[in-house]
Symmetry: C2
Subunit: 140 residues, 2 copies
């Protein structure tokens, strides 16, 4: 299923999550900004539309969306969480020079070892770090 605003609204309804203006704005932002934004980024941008916006609302909304599996939390950094509207399995690469986070395809399931056959896996994360082609080229 495609990640469209309408589809996600359906999902929220299906899961009995109220479609408040703030929540829809957060969703909209995540759909349009696939750069794995931080709470700070989302807050700063949406504040332009909603002057009374509280950062707590962003935290609440993201927690609810994550619990409903509509958003994936990315803990690739030590300090600040990032959020991804794409919940399908894929890897993340963080450039240690420019800080950008890149998606890459990865077939995680094909590598799950026999050792885990008795475990119930709810969440799979593959994080790489290093230097992206641009920074390598510029010797950053």
């Amino acid at each position: 299923m495609d990640i469209t605003f309408e589809n996600l609204k359906q999902e929220l309804k299906k899961k009995n999550i109220g479609l408040s203006y703030q929540r829809l704005k957060v969703l909209e932002y995540l759909i349009q900004n696939r750069c794995h934004p931080t709470v700070e980024q989302i807050f700063t941008e949406l504040q332009k539309d909603i002057p009374t916006l509280s950062k707590t609302t962003i935290y609440n909304t993201l927690r609810i969306l994550a619990e409903a599996d509509l958003v994936k939390v990315i803990n690739i950094e030590e300090k600040e969480a990032r959020y991804d509207i794409d919940t399908k399995d894929h890897g993340h690469f963080k450039c240690e020079s420019c800080g950008a986070i890149f998606d890459f395809p990865i077939d995680i399931d094909s590598l799950i070892p026999e050792d885990l056959s008795k475990f119930k896996i709810n969440d799979k994360n593959v994080y790489f770090k290093g230097l992206c082609p641009g920074c390598l080229y510029n010797n950053n």
Copy 2:
């Protein structure tokens, strides 16, 4: 190369890292406690041996060991970092019920897609979350 106290001491010398009592104690603790301990755990335990020990020393030591690639930082949790003396590639599974972290073998390199051929990969992490066999059995 095996992970022994003596081998690690050699590594420290080779990298011009002073072999202070505190640093050796941290290494010793990590070798003997492969449960991916937190700073708090390491500090609490070593304090018994070194009453004047400061938590800052644990942080400093772990940062130095990690920079020297003698220890791997595990950011599988949101808040607290964990540390692993085993720097060879392997996956980590965190049980969301009991909190235990399990190692599992995984051939990460075979998964790296063509898309990343122009990236320099310095660090690879595979983190799963879910329920371990024990907790599944006990319906935790």
